[in-house]
């Protein structure tokens, strides 16, 4: 396979502040690659280096074999980019904004653009400043997608989108992948990456802590469960369930961490008289902390 993105020993610092440290990463052609990490981990810094919006302090990055600082325009010709935060022209309508970016690129298929407008359900006749956050995000997505780029770089793409539009977005990403295009998607939402990506890199405190197949992420997925029984807690039965750990019992309430499928626990609990059942998926931040502690890990 051909590498579309190659990052070697990338470090970016802002004076004494850390951006990213010694990142090595390869994204292959045609894959959807998730770039996961908590807020401030260095995801956006990495993306901005890829776009040559900022320059590496050390190391380098190549896209389509071209070093980002050498010929960024040649790279930009083949990419579509959605920043994590952006502002566009208040006085232009959504349609005019999309049109402007189409002109900047050239070669945009107007029919595909119209399809995107329809599928994402956005009214292009309104001024940009009048849009809600979600609708602004849709305009940004159309700008990134309208020219069918070879590489999509999307920073927190579903931020502000309602669940229905999120589904449409996932469909569009799957279609792009099916057409052989590459997707680099930054997110802090585990489920989003699971739905769309083949491989995942996890970044924390500026360093890569894990790179692997998305399936491997499922190891990370777990639930915090709290069960309140009408009578005594069946401790032995709970301890025997695969994946249950950190079991704590106070009076008739049991709390535990459940890794993997939760079905066995439900079956066991159903044999007893339950007063309450609370299951919570921990945030990515909690998952990271639980999995990697405070110290940076190594690339798997």
């Amino acid at each position: 396979m051909t590498a579309v993105i190659e990052i070697e020993g990338l470090t970016k610092t802002y004076g004494s502040h850390r951006g990213v440290i010694d990142i090595d990463l390869v994204v292959e052609e045609g894959e959807a690659f998730g770039f996961l990490g908590p807020n401030g981990a260095g995801k956006t810094t990495t993306i901005r280096v890829l776009l040559d919006h900022i320059r590496p302090t050390h190391g380098r990055a190549r896209i389509f074999g071209i070093e980002t600082t050498t010929d960024p325009v040649a790279i930009h010709r083949r990419i579509g980019y959605l920043p994590g935060e952006f502002v566009l022209y208040d006085k232009l309508t959504g349609g005019q904004t999309i049109e402007y970016f189409a002109h900047l690129r050239g070669g945009v298929d107007a029919r595909y653009r119209a399809q995107l407008v329809e599928r994402l359900d956005v009214d292009p006749s309104r001024r940009f400043k009048e849009y809600s956050k979600g609708n602004k995000q849709k305009i940004g997505l159309i700008i990134a997608l309208q020219h069918r780029p070879d590489l999509l770089i999307l920073d927190e793409p579903t931020s502000g989108l309602d669940p229905l539009v999120q589904q449409t977005f996932y469909e569009i990403i799957r279609e792009a992948k099916a057409e052989g295009r590459t997707v680099f998607l930054s997110s802090h939402i585990l489920s989003e990456v699971e739905k769309t990506c083949d491989r995942v890199a996890i970044v924390r405190e500026g360093r890569l802590v894990r790179v692997g197949r998305t399936e491997d992420l499922r190891d990370l997925a777990h639930h915090h469960v709290e069960l309140r029984f009408a009578s005594a807690v069946p401790r032995a039965e709970l301890e025997a369930i695969p994946g249950v750990s950190e079991l704590a019992i106070v009076d008739r309430t049991a709390t535990m961490r459940v890794s993997g499928p939760i079905a066995d626990l439900v079956r066991v609990a159903a044999r007893h008289e339950l007063v309450d059942f609370v299951s919570r998926e921990p945030s990515l931040e909690e998952t990271f902390l639980a999995e990697y502690g405070r110290m940076p890990g190594t690339v798997a």
Partner: protein
Amino acid sequence: MAGHAPTTPLAGPPTIPLLSRLYGFGSVFGKTLRDSRRAAIAVGLGMGLTLIAVSQAIVSQFATPASRQEIADLVAAVPPIMQGLAGRPVAVETLGGYLQYKYGTFFPLVASLWSMLALSGTLAGEARRGSLEFVAAGPIPRRRLAFEKLVAHVTAVVLAAAAIFVSIALAGTAFATLPGDEISAAQAAGYAVWLGALGLASGGIAFAVAPFLGRGPALAIAGAVTFAGFILNGYQNAIPELAPFADLTWFGWTADHIPLANLFDWQSVGLVAVVTVVLFAIGIEAFARRDLGATSAVPTPHLPRVLIGVRGPASRAFGEILPVALAWGIGLGMFGLLLAGSGRSFAEQLDEAPEFRRILEAVFPGLDLGTTGALLQLLFVEFGFILVGLAAATIVGTWASDETAGRLEIVLAAPLARARWALSGGLAAFAGIAVVTVLAALGVAIGALITGDDVLTPVVGTLVIGAYGAALVGVGLAIGGLIGTGAAAPVVALLTVATWMIDIIAPPLGLPDAIQQLALTSHYGQPVLGRWDVVGLCASALLALGGAAAGALAFTRRDLAR
């Protein structure tokens, strides 16, 4: 019976130190006052030190009673149209009278500008960027929120006015050399209160309008009212038809309040204060009653589609810059029309002031004082330089907004080289200056036609403001590339003000010629009279083109700001 959840006795809220409530993060008032500190220091100290410096210069340059009498005679000989935007000449043979006549009239404009910027944005600006959603979600009623922000700004203005009061009182004591030079505390207070009141009145318009229309339109309306009032009041003696309109402005109301010349009209200042309080009340009530951040659109004519500019980076930048350029151009054009149209009145008034005519003929040998060009050269060009400088700052600011607002993240993700973006934007900025210049020249042309005078020479001469504006844009583009686009517009505005200050302060202060020559405006000759100085034009071209090139080059080498 269903019981209520037991109420747990809560510990009282943590005590916030008084100092933090007054200045810091302990209250809305304290935070707003803290946010205003730099502006308050700049205005208070800047104006205060300037007043001290020029006072010292006045008494050393006009050290004898005879020289003072000469000044008084000269000022008395100046026809009304030449007095223009200077103050009313009262007791100009004294330090205070001359200070107020020559410099004191302009300072309320600075205070007004500060208040307008602060009070248009204190709520509306915060609403636009979204932070007001958080502030208003706190346990503070909206009226109190608006009131605290307002009082904090008023406090900052009072502090700046206090610094000005101290400066004047100090100068009036330390530099008083001739009888009548002493400036009493009451006179100094009269000036400081007047300056603060006028500033807050302008800010009051912005504050009252902002909840309805948002920050930008509020600033534009308050600015238009303030500057129109200033110009109408300045020219009402020369053009009597303007007097009824001038009487509608607070500059007109307080025309007889000339405290540094020992003339007081406290009633008029009180009237300004009452109007200001009413405007403040409107602003607070509107903020309390209206939907948070909801503004009504001002019906303005839309640009034709072709001018909106979606074809490429240059046309897009020009589409953003054009409304700004049109606003400045129309304002400058109106000013040019007013002055050029007064050419005949100027000639007649000069005929009635032979003494002053002789002085002008001595200063400008060969100048045909009976022409419109003479009036424009003497009045329009100097003020036009300041206006076009501020126009250049706003145009550069609009160019810079691609990066400062964060749009550049997406724009430069397109296959668009950084240098091309910078140069396209620069080209659009120069085109914006061209629009301003053409509209100014158009106003001058119409005025000259009305007067029936030579049209071509003054119109061509008016292009000098375009050369100056282009030079400043070049500086802005260079700063934008080298340091950051966020610094570009402020540097251009500062350069404009510094150039103007060198023009007006360097001669009385007797600063070395080398410093006076630093002002680009001193190198253009008398272009409205057809006498061009090539040095100024070459320097302008160099700054414009060199600045654009240097900026573009530097921009390709630095990180994008976020």
